[in-house]
């Protein structure tokens, strides 16, 4: 986005998820969800998806 001059635009995170069928276990699934929430939803403003967040764990 920086390269194409879109660094000012906000990103709407529409979906995140990690399937147990893809090799992560349930604990790792929880870890990934937690990190994503902390970083994207509550973290630095430049990484926040303030407009919306839809996750599937």
């Amino acid at each position: 986005m920086d390269k194409y001059g879109d660094s000012h635009k906000q990103i709407w995170i529409t979906e995140v998820g990690w399937s147990l069928a893809d090799g992560v276990n349930s604990q790792e699934q929880a870890d990934l969800l937690a990190q994503t929430l902390v970083t994207a939803l509550f973290g630095p403003r430049e990484t926040q998806g303030r407009e919306g967040f839809f996750g599937s764990a």
Binding site: L20, Q27, A30, A34, Q35, F42, A57
Partner: protein, 167 residues
């Protein structure tokens, strides 16, 4: 948010097919509760791959930590409260499960230490661990007029408190 396995694809969801909460549900609940209304203040990076973010919630700092360890414990500091004279939970050990953001640990002395023991002592590269979800370990709070952070150490307790970001 997909609440139940199967609705968003195989093995997604916060609850399993029997309706039981998965660890992700616990993590989500802990974060939603622990960081409700919180404002991000800065990143925090510790030794042994431990890193996290510092938040301000209603004037009190809250720290969310990650560590690459599989399991561990975090103990509250054994020092007196520098400001209010209250003693912290002396030597109390808290299991830190990678599925949870809590329990919160009160650290009332900005110079106090909180020891984060690891099961296998493995230290990972921060970038790798970050990318692969090393695991949210604990939400920790400090209380003090100057809101100095008094967290955290790994294994040998060598890491000491850092200043409140930006101050």
């Amino acid at each position: 948010m997909v609440l139940r396995e199967g609705l968003g694809g195989p093995s997604y969801g916060l609850y399993d097919t029997e309706g039981k909460p998965k660890p992700a549900c616990t993590a989500y609940q802990a974060i939603a509760t622990g960081l409700a209304g919180a404002r991000w203040r800065g990143p925090w990076k510790g030794p042994e791959g431990v890193r996290g973010h510092v938040f301000d919630r209603a004037g009190q700092p809250v720290l969310a930590l990650w560590t690459p360890a599989a399991k561990g414990k975090i103990s509250s500091p054994s020092e007196h409260d520098r400001f209010g004279g209250r003693r912290a939970d002396h030597g109390q050990q808290h299991d830190v499960d990678r599925a949870q953001l809590g329990p919160s640990v009160a650290c009332r002395d900005p110079c106090a230490r909180a020891r984060l023991g690891t099961e296998n002592g493995r230290a990972g590269r921060p970038d790798r661990d970050w990318a692969h979800g090393a695991g949210v370990r604990a939400g920790a709070q400090t209380v003090g007029r100057r809101m100095a952070i008094g967290i955290a150490a790994v294994d040998d307790g060598s890491a000491q408190a850092g200043p409140w970001p930006g101050q």
